[in-house]
Amino acid sequence: MDNKTKLVEARREKALVPERDYDKSPILECVNLGINFGGLKAVDDFNLTIGRTEIAGLIGPNGAGKTTVFNLLTKVYQPTTGTILLDGKDTHGMNTIQVNHAGIARTFQNIRLFNNLTVEENVKAAMDHNMSYNLFEGILRMPRYWKEEKLAHERALELLSIFHMENVAGVKAGSLPYGAQRRLEIVRALATNPSLLLLDEPAAGMNPSETAELMANIRTIRDTFQIAVLLIEHDMSLVMNICEGLCVLNFGQIIAKGTPEDIQANPAVIEAYLGKQKEA
């Protein structure tokens, strides 16, 4: 099968894309994506299509290769096989930085904040690509410095207000409580103006009320910024509630795709999570 027919086949998989995005081209298309680590196929034949404003979920047991998929999408690893099309554009040969500029932003499973910078500085650091004053304008504090810094400050507070974090803008990120650190990572990712937001276990370590708030926030983000969200999560209540499409991964391969209802009833998924029932 050559690449083109594979692409056509991938388009047919629109089942995952919510109806309102049917008439728009998908934001992300993975075709036959795979990576080998010295003979071990960590991810194999991964095909996924995500709509413009979809909230999609990537689930699966531990070690299934979910974070590896994120690392492939953000080019932390270069894929061994397959194609990633972001907004119809092939990301082949791009590095992490270029992929971010092209529109993918992510959070990390184990929080990676700039601990010695303040909350506001963490967010402003993510706006770097959208600022244009150079080193000398910065040192000499030319008008462009003041103008852009003022804009960045206002925008940072605006983004922080989504999670009601404006009041901790001046606090060092490393001294924030755990839940707030997770939320700050999302704000920081948003500050890069992504068209696709990857969230790696956003609700990990959160209590039920925090998780409920997070769910509402993710929806707000999608509605306000009109972006797509792909999230990895083990909290099934969150996944089943907010995801419109789900993709289940086991041993690096997709075992099921569909709406949350389909997935809940899928015997292959139940087997992956709970094991096979003994035949009588």
Binding site: F37, I97, R112, F114, K124, Y133, L140
Partner: protein, 362 residues
Amino acid sequence: MKRSMTSRRTNLMNYATYLLVIAFFAVITVMNSSGNLSSIMKGMLVPICAYSVMAVSLNLTVGILGELSLGHAGFMSVGAFTGVTAAVALGNHVSSAPVRLLVGMVVGAIFAAIVGVLIGIPVLRLKGDYLAIVTLAFGEIIKGIFNNLYVGLDSRGFHISLLSDTTNLDPDGTLIIGGPMGLKSIPTIATFTSGIILLLITLVVVFHLVNSRTGRAVMAIRDNRIAAESIGINVTKYKLMAFTVSAALAGAAGSLFAMNYTTMVANKFDFNTSILILVFVVLGGQGNMMGSIIAASALTILPEALRSFSTYRMLVYAIVLILVMLATNNPTLKSFFSRKKKTDVPLDPDEPGDGDEGKEAV
């Protein structure tokens, strides 16, 4: 604009640093005019300024960028040799000493910056210990080059030769750099005032850089390189920027330092000097510019103040240094090393699954 608590505290600290430098200048000026300044102290004023600039500029590399550099004296050396050459060459045309000093420092800074870029491109790809070793080698190479470089100036222009003196100068010419003999007949035009001005400019450059997008990007890379890349920060570019600014400031300081003496050899800027500057930074606290200035001043004065111990002078100096280190037991240093350990763990591509994670403590 509403300012947050932390940024206000940082600003206060910056103003306090400016004030400290100006106060130091005022005290010395008053003491000098009332005749209370010993000749030994007078001779140390310019080195204090030069070493303070060196310490602040190295602090940009070590404290803000988070990379250990053991070759900072190399940039000082480049600045000294090129700056003095420019000042000597200008001597025939410009009589004003401050102008010659200014041109000397600017030329020194520019050359050091160029060398900084050339060294930075390959070196900044390395991390941690490897980077430290390569910068150490760089310092030695620079020393080796200037020990074998001959530069003369006569009516026909500059004459440059390596390894042996084949400059064949006209009788009216002067040999500016004489290989192992180093710089000869330097115009001693460096003044305490110019040193303080350079120090203030250095502080403005460093503080403004830290509080700009460049500084944020550099500190983001220091805190978490992988996260910095994930939000689209060009790691190589910003590392190189900080490293080059640091080198340029060191070059200006070297130029100022050399023009306080009549002769200067390349061996003055050796590994020991690099380590001495690193000691200023570590003692003053990484990322703490005021601390760097205080440490640089104190440790420049200390060996002179200990002259009464004669033979045991350096022994006492070492003991005092150890005691001070123990007393301060710098927490920023500890966090630096723990951070270094954490961020230095490379991504292991042989590790499948969720292998990217798990290295950074929460």
